[in-house]
Symmetry: C2
Subunit: 187 residues, 2 copies
DNA sequence: ACCTGAACACCGTTCAAGT
DNA sequence: ACCTGAACACCGTTCAAGT
């Protein structure tokens, strides 16, 4: 198509970025188990060994994807907080759950047991940063606020996870978003 | 040790059971990723192909482990319910979270995205059965009860998951169980 | 500096053969 | 009926070699 320097699609310059983008697509379509390094390399049109110039291992690639996920998540949460909704907790909670449902496999990867945050400071930092907006929201009242904040966070996170797992049954003709709002605003 | 028929440890009769028991140990020690079929076979003293007489695939083995997990979980929940505690919701919630922390990798496996319950009716049934006690608890009031029940479930489940992920920071010298109780009983 | 080609160790799985 | 031994396809990863 084009051979002008600086915008030849792959093989030059931005393979790392190309890998990440292709990986995100494969991840959402096939899930983490379907994201092989060789398949990814093939999808990008590069040799099986090429990704190793940009990622130390498959785990490092997954970590980079999870970090991206936390960044996108953080951007959404900040946007909602900045929009000054009537009920900030409810609005952010809904955004939280909707993000999980819209980016199912990415969200799962962000909390995958395979990516132990204890041994991956980069992931931990990204996760902490992503939850900062949430923490600041209820963190105002420092006294009893912590317990309430943690309880609200747990409720929202648990709702997201149980919905992803298909564990909370949606009844025929039921509006999922309405159910989410009801559960979040309950108590 | 003994060659009397009916109780020779392996190679006869109960290889399936032996595999499951060894797998549970490896799972809790090494995590799901560290649970290879070949390693498992070696641990039990059997050839790499032997497990296939009892499990169709590695996924089927993991599913069987997860089912066991749900059964153990259900047993705990039923025991608490049967003990008629002052505050059933609080007692069961605490049991829920403590089970998750005490059986970390098994609990993670029970909700692993790798074991999609949509395509595994056995797993779905085991999971549904495990949550039955919980459902019956708040299912008494059918009107607005569902939303409240789901909210309580989500809070407890989210707390378990976030604690497992190390996302909820335990402060120095803080009592984890006390924190769990506080969060569960908050509103 | 970045990528290729070929190799290595390893894994899940299959299958003919043993007992 | 249950297990072994050997093989197959495949994967993550490494490394010398190319450009």
């Amino acid at each position: 198509m084009s051979t002008s320097p600086g915008n030849s699609p792959y093989h030059h310059g931005n393979l790392r970025q190309a890998l990440l983008e292709a990986a995100l697509v494969i991840l959402e379509q096939q899930g983490e188990a379907g994201l092989g390094l060789r398949d990814l390399a093939r999808a990008v049109g590069v040799s099986p060994a090429a990704p190793y110039r940009h990622f130390d291992s498959r785990a490092a690639l997954l970590e980079a994807l999870a970090v991206t996920g936390f960044q996108r998540f953080a951007a959404r949460m900040e946007a909602v907080a900045a929009s000054q909704p009537d009920d900030p907790m409810a609005a952010m909670g809904k955004t939280y759950v909707v993000f999980a449902l819209q980016n199912a496999n990415l969200f799962r990867l962000m909390f995958s047991p395979q990516l132990k945050k204890d041994s991956r400071p980069g992931l931990r930092m990204a996760a902490d940063a992503a939850f900062d907006t949430l923490r600041h929201l209820v963190g105002g009242d420092v006294k009893k606020g912590r317990i309430k904040a943690l309880a609200a966070w747990a409720k929202v996170h648990g709702l997201a996870v149980l919905l992803l797992d298909g564990q909370i049954a949606i009844r025929a003709g039921e509006d999922t978003e309405a159910l989410i709002e009801e559960i979040i605003s309950s108590l």
